[in-house]
């Protein structure tokens, strides 16, 4: 094994719940790995399946839809 696998994760987070939960995690100083990039959407219903495929296409190892 060369390097430890460090996946790139894209999260689509609903502004009204999951995104604010991620904010609250910050206020509470919870710690989590820095390999996640959060994209704010106004509703998880806004997420087109193509977004997810495009994320994988551009090199994401995992996609999280939270809402």
């Amino acid at each position: 094994m060369a390097e430890e696998f460090n996946p790139k994760i894209i999260a689509f987070a609903c502004n009204w719940c999951a995104y604010s939960a991620a904010d609250l995690a910050g206020v509470s100083r919870l710690q989590y790995p820095p390999n996640i990039r959060i994209i704010r959407v106004m509703c998880s219903g806004r997420i087109n399946p193509n977004f997810i495929l495009e994320a994988f296409n551009l090199g994401a190892d995992g996609v999280l839809v939270a809402g």
């Binding site: 995104y19 995690a25 100083r29 710690q31 820095p34 990039r37 509703c43």
Partner: protein
């Protein structure tokens, strides 16, 4: 941190003197980073955690406090000893001000609303409960904190004495309520049964089912909407319900607590528990009393603000309104309903001066940057040390400078401070920026502020984007400086990429139709219409039948003894004579289209159709009394429903004087499998009517056969009075049969008394069946307005606690029995509250629609999926706005309607 000193004047023109205590923290400067509290050396007891934990002398009361600003209390070491000032030393924004002084404020107001709340009973007053004798005997509020994730044990359920996970917990109901001892309250607090059930269920979830829970009660009063289901769920989850008043709670040799009680069979039993929770009731708050006395409002015998069923939020002093537990014991939804109701009353009262103190904000003219290549400025915030302390801000700034179209980047100590705002405005002008990125905290709190900043520099506010490098970066990766810096760079790169694609957008204004449609001319609907008319709005009140009044036409008296027919007639007369109210009886709805501000509803009156245009709709379609098919109903004229007995009272029917024995049977057709809800009003209704019979003929024998007596809140007084007057209450064993038969000409009622554990037989000459309130079987209004109904057929509000009058669909509201079974005062409060919906929707003639760029993300949209019928578009009636209209008005800006 303010209190009323005194009040002068009268309705329409009050002058209130308020004393504002010093906070010692400048609210404009405090960024709530918490560093002061971290460094403060003074620990004090945390009242919010019910004394179970400590806080610092500089503090915020709880995590979600509004405003989220720190304050220094009187325990501060500097105040006591003249030195320390650690907070001042460490505060990154210079917000500490030890020179802060109390301020006297004078407020001029046309009306006053008081909502001072109440205190809770102190169980230390009565030693049976053993409170404070063992740390493991806690009040329900202390237990709430123990369960809370932000509480003293971080949400881990342990008992205070030894931090052991409890295996058995007991709840004791009616602690300080329904109790005539000095210091206790004779009334029912109305909320404790449901909260005890909630605590038991949550505690079980915490302990993953390894917890035994027992609730000791007198009657389980889960009379609120859907609460009965919750009670059933608790029973299924294994929560034990023991109908017994306990006699003692004593520490045992094993370190546990031993409860002595009498079981169902009448035997004295002792059982050990690890913890005991005392379900404490509401008590009088002396601060609230003090306030009420200053205001000169009258109180009832329990020191609650005196109101009446038909004016549930008016105090005895004109212009002063009340809501919440200071009026009487009540739960969250009812408190919220009353807050809306009092606001609606005030809107009506002060309708003439509405909007007279508003000012129009002036903004500089917007620069046209369409088609210009992006020139992006990036401002990276240090947030004191909140960001700069955990990642390399200068490195992020340097990186930002290398990104395409970025012509300017710098870091700020506090991007949100007033001086930085001005600086950003200046930089935008100097550098000819046409797009801005701020890398700082979260857009959820700060986006509007920065949008304002760019707007002040003449940039369209949708050409702005935030990178969340604090809440979602520096704070959550505080020990990984390198990785956090890399992530921050990525977040800035993402924001820059997005902002360069954004296009300017306008906030279109649309005209709002100001009239309202009230569907249902019962008590709630008439109340809404009267209030809306008083507020100055044209209101169409439609009623299916040929008269107004609804179910209230069948009611004799309220539980407080008010004559319903007299009051109802006055309300109807008020509606009929108001020129703002257009009453349409014999009218039904055929079709509905449009959305908030622009509804078109087709109604049919006696075969003739017309279209009503309206801005909001209030659904007050009501419900009715269930007609049973058991217990000889319909077969014997001596068997009546509750309302049929009311009818006899209304008509002054003399045959009632002939009766020797009357029996009331509760829960006929309710709290059963087919109809598993409680109708809330029937217990009080039967007790009230039983008292009336006794009044007509004191020699009459009156029996009430029940499962749980639910005379909640102050209605408990009636129950006590009924017992004192010799009305016999028989708690029957629900597991055994209750049979009504006819023997020759006698009606035979047979049941098994829970207390006596033996069969009882009564031969009444009047049998009254307390049947549930049922919604109509077919409910076209629900499907026409596309609003939901629950399993029982009642409408489902937007939020059971916080939005009990709204639907999730904007501009549509619900009140009265259509929402859930409720008595007169609560129907009126909800009817009034629904009146507030109108002005909440349309403070002005038009409304500004915001937030377009958030949703479409700079990508082109088309209008082909729009399905509504937008009208009255003032600016650019193009597809874009139309499309967004539907989204904003019906789906809460979710973005779902944007096809790509």
């Amino acid at each position: 941190m303010s209190e009323v000193q005194n009040i002068a004047g009268e309705q329409g023109n009050f002058e209130i003197k308020v004393l504002q205590h010093p906070r010692y923290v400048d609210m404009d400067k405090c960024i709530a980073c918490g560093l002061c509290a971290e460094k403060c050396p003074k620990k004090v007891i945390n009242e919010f955690d019910a004394g179970l934990a400590k806080r610092k002398s500089i503090y915020v009361k709880y995590e979600q406090a509004v405003p989220l600003k720190y304050a220094i209390d009187e325990n501060c070491i500097y105040f006591k000893k003249g030195k320390c000032k650690a907070c001042e030393k460490f505060c990154p924004s210079g917000a500490i001000n030890f020179e802060d002084q109390p301020k006297e404020l004078t407020i001029n107001a046309g009306a006053v609303l008081i909502a001072p709340g109440c205190a809770v009973y102190d169980p230390g007053l009565y030693d049976t409960y053993g409170y404070k004798k063992s740390p493991d005997i806690v009040t329900s509020l202390e237990f709430e904190r123990i369960l809370a994730a932000t509480g003293p044990f971080g949400g881990h359920l342990v008992r205070p004495s030894d931090h052991k996970e409890p295996e058995k917990i007991a709840w004791i109901q009616c602690v300080g309520s329904r109790d005539m001892h000095p210091g206790s309250q004779p009334y029912c607090s109305g909320v404790c049964c449901t909260y005890a059930i909630k605590e038991a269920i949550i505690a079980k979830e915490h302990q993953k089912g390894k917890l035994d829970t027992a609730i000791f009660y007198i009657d389980i009063r889960t009379h609120g909407k859907d609460f009965e289901r919750y009670y059933n769920r608790a029973q299924e989850a294994g929560v034990r319900f023991l109908k017994s008043k306990i006699s003692s709670i004593l520490p045992s040799d094993t370190g546990n607590l031993r409860i002595g009680y009498t079981d169902k069979a009448g035997m004295r039993v002792e059982e050990e528990f690890d913890m005991v929770v005392l379900s404490v009731g509401f008590a009088v708050s002396h601060k609230a009393l003090d306030l009420a006395q200053k205001l000169g409002v009258e109180m009832d015998q329990y020191q609650h603000a005196l109101t009446s069923s038909f004016n549930p939020v008016r105090t005895t002093k004109p212009g002063i309104f009340v809501c919440g537990t200071f009026e009487s014991p009540k739960d969250i939804p009812q408190s919220v309903i009353e807050s809306s109701a009092s606001a609606a009353e005030i809107e009506g009262l002060l309708a003439e001066s509405r909007g007279s103190m508003t000012r129009t904000k002036e903004t500089p003219e917007e620069l046209d940057v369409k088609g210009d290549p992006p020139r992006i400025g990036v401002f990276v915030c240090n947030c004191g040390t909140n960001i700069g302390g955990f990642l390399d801000v200068p490195d992020v700034v340097e990186y930002a400078k290398t990104l395409p179209s970025v012509v300017f980047a710098e870091d700020n100590l506090f991007s949100c401070s007033q001086d930085t705002q001005e600086k950003i405005t200046q930089v935008i002008k100097e550098q000819n920026l046409n797009r801005v990125v701020v890398a700082a905290c979260t857009p959820r709190t700060h986006e509007p502020l920065f949008q304002e900043t760019v707007l002040n520099a003449g940039i369209n506010k949708y050409l702005f984007e935030m990178a969340n490098i604090r809440n979602q970066c520096s704070w959550v990766h505080s020990s990984e400086r390198g990785a956090a810096t890399e992530k921050a760079k990525d977040l800035v790169r993402m924001a820059v990429a997005k902002v360069s694609l954004l296009q300017p957008l306008s906030d279109p204004e649309i005209e709002m139709n100001q009239s309202a449609l009230v569907i249902g001319g019962g008590l709630a609907g008439i109340t809404t219409a009267n209030n809306l008319a008083q507020q100055g709005y044209v209101t169409h009140l439609i009623e299916k039948s040929d008269v107004l009044g609804g179910q209230a036409l069948n009611l004799y008296e309220t539980w407080q003894g008010e004559d319903v027919q007299k009051k109802l007639a006055a309300l109807i007369k008020g509606a009929e004579s108001d020129k703002n109210i257009n009453i349409l009886t014999n009218t039904q709805i055929k079709e509905v289209s449009g959305f908030v501000g622009n509804f078109q509803t087709t109604v049919e009156t006696a075969g003739k159709e017309q279209v009503i245009e309206h801005g909001v709709a209030i659904i007050a379609t009501g419900a009715q009394e269930f007609k049973p098919d058991q217990y000889l109903y319909g077969e014997d004229p001596r068997v009546l429903t509750g309302l049929e007995l009311d009818r006899k009272f209304i008509d002054d029917n003399l045959s009632l004087n002939e009766i020797h024995t009357a029996v009331f049977i509760q829960c006929v057709g309710s709290r059963i499998k087919e109809r598993p809800y409680c109708s809330k009003v029937c217990c009080t209704h039967s007790v009230k009517n039983a008292l009336k019979l006794k009044e007509l003929k004191p020699a009459m024998d009156v029996f009430i056969i029940y499962r749980d007596m639910r005379t909640y809140g102050l209605r408990e007084d009636l129950y006590r009075e009924a017992r004192a007057k010799g009305i016999a209450f028989i708690h029957y064993d629900f597991d055994k049969e209750l049979a009504v038969s006819k023997n020759q000409n006698d009606i035979n009622v047979k049941c098994t008394s829970y207390v006596l554990q033996r069969e009882v037989e009564i031969r009444p000459d009047l049998l009254v069946l307390a049947t549930p309130i049922v919604p109509p079987q077919e409910n076209p209004v629900a499907s026409l307005f596309k609003v939901p109904v629950n399993e029982d057929g009642f409408f489902v509000e937007a939020h059971v606690k916080l939005q009990p009058i709204d639907f999730a669909t904007k501009g549509v509201f619900v009140c009265g029995l259509a929402h859930s079974p409720k008595p007169v005062d609560e129907a009126i409060a909800q009817g009034l509250g629904a009146g507030l919906g109108q002005c909440y929707c349309f403070q002005n003639q038009s409304t500004v629609l915001q937030g377009l760029s958030e949703m479409h993300g700079g990508l082109p949209v088309s209008s082909h999926q729009f399905s509504g019928r937008p009208r009255h578009l003032r600016s650019k009636p193009g597809g874009l706005h139309r499309l967004w209209l539907m989204c904003s008005s019906l789906s809460h800006r979710c973005g779902r309607c944007f096809p790509l």
